[in-house]
């Protein structure tokens, strides 16, 4: 973690309720709501909150994956699965990687082995009789996990395969979920999806229908999702029991006072309240605007101290 990120984490204020819910979700095995939806208008601190949660996961050494959409990093469903796979550990997703290659690499056959990451032993312990001659030795003994299948990172579906896009999506997701579930059995997995409103509609449908669908149907256990977005999602009734929704609201006066202190801006006891109230009035408690205003004040203070 960079020093600047550490600094931002140190200045984080409020959102105790959200963090408590999050910690319950990741700590309790019987927590009934494995999906947390965090939403709010621009500047409400969704990404900062997710950053805080990611840090919690790191401290607990959980498996975690982060998929963040931007305007030019527009992950489709394959890219989402690839990212989660790579974050959690590609070695756990050999079959999934093989299947992606099968669907995208022309003339690819499922039994292709691309590389190894452990020694392979041939004829270990074999004893040969006197005068015996060895022609060809077959039967390679390979340790579990030694075979590594590399994703050739192609995007376009093969044109010589008779499978529709929707069926391809279903097959890939199914295989992915199976291996994700197996990985999650070994240690809890938390998947963060931020700025999901920037994902295309098809991808959003896949996230809810297929990926979360696996959670709802019991095919994915010991995994949690945190989804950050700008808009309040329209949650189907079938999902209500699985989802904890957190709408981020503006900061209150006491949070602004705390933020001033953490940022090292000390107006003095007499003025602290007035400064915080002025910031609140100017920013309406929008965390981004608060941080920007306080930063501007801090810099002016530093400049004046310097001169």
């Amino acid at each position: 973690m960079t020093p600047f990120l550490q600094q931002r984490l140190a200045r984080f204020v409020d959102r105790e309720a959200e963090m408590r819910s999050f910690c319950s979700m990741i700590e309790k095995d019987d927590w009934p709501r494995p999906i947390m939806l965090v939403w709010g208008e621009g500047g409400m601190g969704k990404s900062s909150l997710l950053m805080r949660m990611i840090h919690e996961c790191s401290l607990r050494e959980f498996g975690k994956a982060e998929v963040f959409w931007t305007d030019t990093r527009n992950h489709d469903y394959v890219a989402v699965m690839r990212k989660i796979r790579d974050d959690i550990g590609a070695n756990s997703f050999g079959e999934f990687t093989n299947l992606i290659n099968f669907f995208t690499v022309p003339q690819h056959r499922l039994e292709v082995v691309v590389g190894t990451n452990a020694p392979v032993a041939v004829g270990t312990g074999a004893e040969l009789g006197a005068g015996a001659q060895v022609g060809t030795m077959a039967g390679i003994v390979v340790q579990p996990g030694a075979i590594v299948i590399k994703d050739l990172m192609l995007n376009d579906p093969r044109s010589d395969l008779a499978i529709s896009e929707s069926d391809r999506m279903a097959r890939l997701t199914d295989q992915f979920v199976q291996e994700l579930n197996a990985a999650a059995r070994k240690r809890k997995v938390v998947i963060f999806l931020d700025a999901v409103e920037k994902a295309t509609e098809q991808t959003q449908r896949w996230v809810w229908g297929e990926l979360m669908g696996a959670l709802r149907d019991g095919r994915l256990m010991n995994a949690c999702f945190v989804i950050g977005g700008r808009n309040q999602p329209a949650i189907d009734e079938r999902w209500r029991s699985l989802v904890e929704e957190k709408q981020l609201g503006p900061l209150k006066l006491e949070h602004i006072v705390e933020y001033l202190a953490r940022r090292g801006v000390d107006p003095g006891d007499a003025a602290r309240g007035a400064v915080a109230e002025a910031i609140l009035a100017y920013t309406d408690g929008n965390p981004f605007k608060v941080a920007s205003a306080v930063e501007a004040m801090a810099r002016r203070q530093e400049q004046k101290a310097g001169t």
Partner: protein, 502 residues
């Protein structure tokens, strides 16, 4: 008044007249040079040292590092895995300012400098190449709008042709960032593309809104014709057949390809249950596609007419599917070939050519198995089981259905597995035991309920009287009735005999 409070009030005062307070507040915190560099960083969607030096070529490596460190301290700058990005609110304000006339020249020059950064390299993976292409396209629009728009259209169409509809939606979002500077022609095309994406997302109402927006504008004839034809298709799928027909007629007048218009007219008539008209239109579409030497559209037209004639004229349908098959390329059209083979299987089943039907289904199955298309395989096996039943091959029929059920369950399609289980129940009801039929019927009910198809579950329950005593067979009732009648007759004769003696 305390110093911090007065500073804050001065800050607020300086910003009070601003329409872009967030970005102005940000830039006020930097010296002039850094403020300008950060403003430049709003042109791309993310930035790093390479991007910053491309935007400001005069920067040395040390100055670049220093500027980036300064930027990282700002709340408006977010650190991503391998780069930085401005907060959306700030970037949108700054980018909008870049599109104003007074900044256009500098903006174009900066965009042009960014193009080189996103030039594809030979060792780029396809994923990296696609990402660079999007970035490059975005900046080409900024550097040279006309050239950029032409390339946008080409890339968009190429992605559509490869079935990458999600990418198309992402590309349109990039183009929309330039919406304030689009001319009427480009606005028209943007609306059309948005309609296509809405249609891809099965949002007919929204697609129509965008298409209406195209048609209200002064757009070239080719775009108008396309919009009209697409409108016809969307209206048809919404069941608004008269309006769909009117759109088709107008599309033809505006120069849309005649074979496409007649094809769409055929589908409208088909969906509106006008069989003869549908047939005539689709036949015309075939003639015109041949005349236009358009293989792809001819294949579609053959398949549409064949599907229409499947029940009423299956022999004719089979002929059409054969024509279709002859035009398909196994390297490019595997999916279509499997579909046509499946259709040939059904057409031959309709004319009771069972061996031919089984053969076509078998070929379709082979292709689907090779493609690991479990759903397609399961569906074809359902059809195969019907053929086996017709040929009295009960074991083969049962085996096909059992595999079909398993595959539908593997792909989590409870509705279809319910249908396959229902067929199994029917089969074993005829040729197996009641107990076996009841078992499959119960599983079908459970499957339909899982899929939320209560009506189907109840229908199976009624059909197989699941949970009720078996109904006696009809002939037993007949025998009982006859026996009773006979007994009554004997008694009556005896009584008559006794009366006569007296």
């Amino acid at each position: 008044m305390s110093l911090p409070l007065s500073q804050l009030q001065q800050l607020i005062g300086d910003l009070s007249a601003s329409q872009s307070q967030e970005s102005d507040l940000l830039l006020m915190q930097l010296d002039e040079a850094d403020a300008h560099r950060l403003r430049l960083c709003a042109i791309p969607h993310a930035f790093d040292a390479d991007v910053l030096r491309a935007l400001d070529p005069a920067l040395s490596a040390e100055e670049t590092e220093r500027s980036l460190e300064e930027f990282q301290r700002l709340p408006a700058v977010m650190e991503l895995a391998d780069c930085f990005a401005l907060h959306d609110v700030v970037r949108q304000q700054l980018f909008a300012q870049w599109l104003s006339p007074e900044r256009r020249e500098e903006f174009s020059a900066a965009s042009a400098r960014l193009l080189d950064l996103y030039r594809p390299q030979p060792d780029d993976s396809a994923v990296e190449a696609a990402s660079k292409q999007s970035n490059r396209l975005f900046h080409l629009l900024g550097a040279d709008f006309e050239r950029g728009f032409a390339e946008f259209q080409s890339v968009y169409q190429a992605r559509r042709d490869r079935g990458r509809f999600s990418d198309c939606e992402a590309l349109i979002r990039l183009l929309r960032e330039y919406e304030s500077v689009l001319g009427s022609r480009e606005r028209g095309w943007l609306a059309y593309y948005r309609a296509e994406v809405a249609d891809d997302n099965r949002n007919g109402a929204q697609a129509l809104e965008y298409l209406d927006a195209v048609l209200k504008q002064d757009v070239p004839d080719d775009l108008r014709a396309r919009a009209l034809l697409r409108s016809a298709s969307v209206l048809r799928r919404l069941g608004r057949f008269d309006q769909a027909r009117a759109s088709c007629a107008e599309a033809l007048r505006r120069g849309a390809a005649a074979h496409l218009v007649h094809h769409e007219s055929g589908l409208i008539a088909r969906d509106n249950n006008e069989f003869e008209l549908a047939r005539a239109e689709l036949e015309r579409a075939i003639e015109l596609s041949k005349a236009a030497s358009n293989r792809r559209d001819l294949v579609i037209a053959y398949n549409s007419l064949g599907t229409l004639l499947l029940k009423p004229a299956p022999a004719e349908a089979a002929r059409l599917f054969h024509e279709c098959l002859a035009l398909l390329d196994p390297e490019q059209d595997s999916l279509r070939i499997a579909q046509v083979l499946n259709n040939l299987g059904m057409a031959n089943a309709e004319i009771r050519e069972w061996p031919a039907s089984a053969e076509f289904f078998k070929r379709s199955l082979e292709i689907k198995r090779a493609a690991r298309d479990l759903y397609g395989e399961a569906s074809t096996l359902l059809n195969v089981s019907r053929v086996h039943r017709a040929e009295d091959k009960w074991d083969e029929a049962k085996s096909a259905l059992i595999t079909s059920v398993k595959l539908f369950e593997d792909v989590h399609d409870a509705t279809r597995s319910g249908q396959a289980l229902r067929e199994l129940a029917r089969l074993t009801n005829d040729k197996g035991t009641r107990a076996e039929a009841q078992l499959y019927a119960s599983q079908a009910i459970e499957s339909f309920r899982r899929a939320g198809r209560e009506a189907d579950a109840e229908a199976v329950q009624r059909e197989f009287r699941v949970g009720k005593a078996p109904r006696s067979k009809w002939w037993r009732w007949g025998l009982w009735s006859l026996a009773t009648l006979f007994f009554v007759l004997i008694v009556a004769l005896i009584l008559i005999g006794l009366l006569v003696e007296e």
